[in-house]
Symmetry: C2
DNA sequence: CACTATAGACAGTACAACTATCGATAGTTA
DNA sequence: TAACTATCGATAGTTGTACTGTCTATAGTG
């Protein structure tokens, strides 16, 4: 197919497709002449990946380029996982996090087999520090339950990757799952908050609200 | 205190403090003359809140202004919760989500007492749609476990708010918890992923890695 | 009385993600 | 085969966001 069709199928404007090509997110098409090229299903797929990473995934173009390069490389899966993790994490300056916050995180993650450089460990310390700066209260009880939930999600993530067959499928799932998983969990969290809040404080209205959704 | 001290305590440049004032994020100081004003601890607290929302919370200035206005208002807590939820959610165009994806989400959230407009419900549908566009596979098993984890987190969130005493404390905790909770969970998820991955695939290395962190 | 610090208005910066224009050429259609 | 549309690749422009800098008149300070 030519660029206009690629653009139509993926609902992405032609100038934007060109932009992705320029930025190295999308591999060039197969040249048929000095100013013509053919694209195929792989390009369609890749554009969908790019849009998922830049949109719901919240990655910037430079970071998306890195994780795409990791998928395309033949590096082992654990390496792809590391790249995806660092990409999806808000970049936190290691030195900007104080030791006390890191110790608290380590206490919460007692028994976890993680390296000191794990992006989550650093980021969690930064978030707890910010939380304390506003809400002068110990957030450890709250955090402990987050860790419990995070373990459930992490097991689900690994299981999902295992279900894929080839190395490339697994690599793509790792990247998409890591980036979109955050957004998916955040969405379900919102829903669960309303649900828990309603059943806890207005149980008499819960049934009525349930009905409103099941019969639109 | 004067602006320079406010700036020093909060580690925020003076021009940035002025910017927050202009943008209505920070209430003006108590005027002592046409071009002098006094600030107090409430301003310090407020700047910390702003920085937490704009930094780890990932809100933009306009959205931060809305949630701060909600805290300052005397609107009831459920309303503040709603504002915070919409603020922390990636804005999704309702019509951009197709009905099939919404039905899948509703199946996953069967029995939940939530309104059809719940931001999480819409956002989850959008994310699942993006995931399917890339990874042509049913993500429902994966999602179900996310929902299970989201319930744990939502209960923790509500409990944390309940522990606060006054309406204003509760309102602030709702806002901070909603915005920073996403980042906190994402961080713990990264840590849990490495932990689960190591114990599952390289159990013999797990102990060694654990030791590396406990004895820095 | 120097000297520094405001407040507030306004302009400028830096970066990211597109979006538009252009000239030379290629494919397509009447 | 002429007219029309599409493409490539280079370059420039746009939009939006979160600051950052400059300026003037005035105020606090040693």
């Amino acid at each position: 197919m030519r660029m206009s069709e690629l653009s139509r199928i993926t609902e992405t404007p032609v100038p934007t497709v060109k932009y992705y090509l320029r930025e190295g997110l999308l591999p060039p098409g197969r040249r048929t002449s000095p100013n013509q090229a053919q694209y195929d299903d792989e390009h369609v797929r890749r554009i969908r990946l790019i849009r998922a990473l830049l949109g719901p995934g919240g990655l910037d173009v430079a970071t998306a380029r890195e994780v795409i390069a990791a998928i395309d490389s033949d590096l082992p899966l654990p390496h792809v996982f590391g790249v995806a993790q660092r990409a999806a994490s808000v970049r936190v300056d290691d030195r900007a996090v104080d030791a006390a916050a890191l110790e608290r995180v380590d206490a919460l993650l007692d028994g976890f087999a993680i390296h000191p450089e794990n992006p989550g460990r650093i980021a969690a310390a930064a978030v707890l520090e910010a939380f304390d700066a506003v809400d002068q209260r110990n957030a450890d009880d709250w955090s402990r339950r987050y860790v419990e939930a995070a373990l459930i999600v992490a097991e689900a993530d690994l299981d999902t990757v295992e279900r894929r067959v080839t190395r490339d499928e697994k690599a793509e799932t790792v990247v998409v799952g890591t980036a979109l998983g955050d957004a998916l969990f955040a969405a379900f969290r919102r829903a669960a908050q309303e649900h828990v809040s309603t059943t806890r404080y207005e149980p008499e209205r819960a049934d009525e609200i349930r009905r409103a959704r099941s019969t639109p």
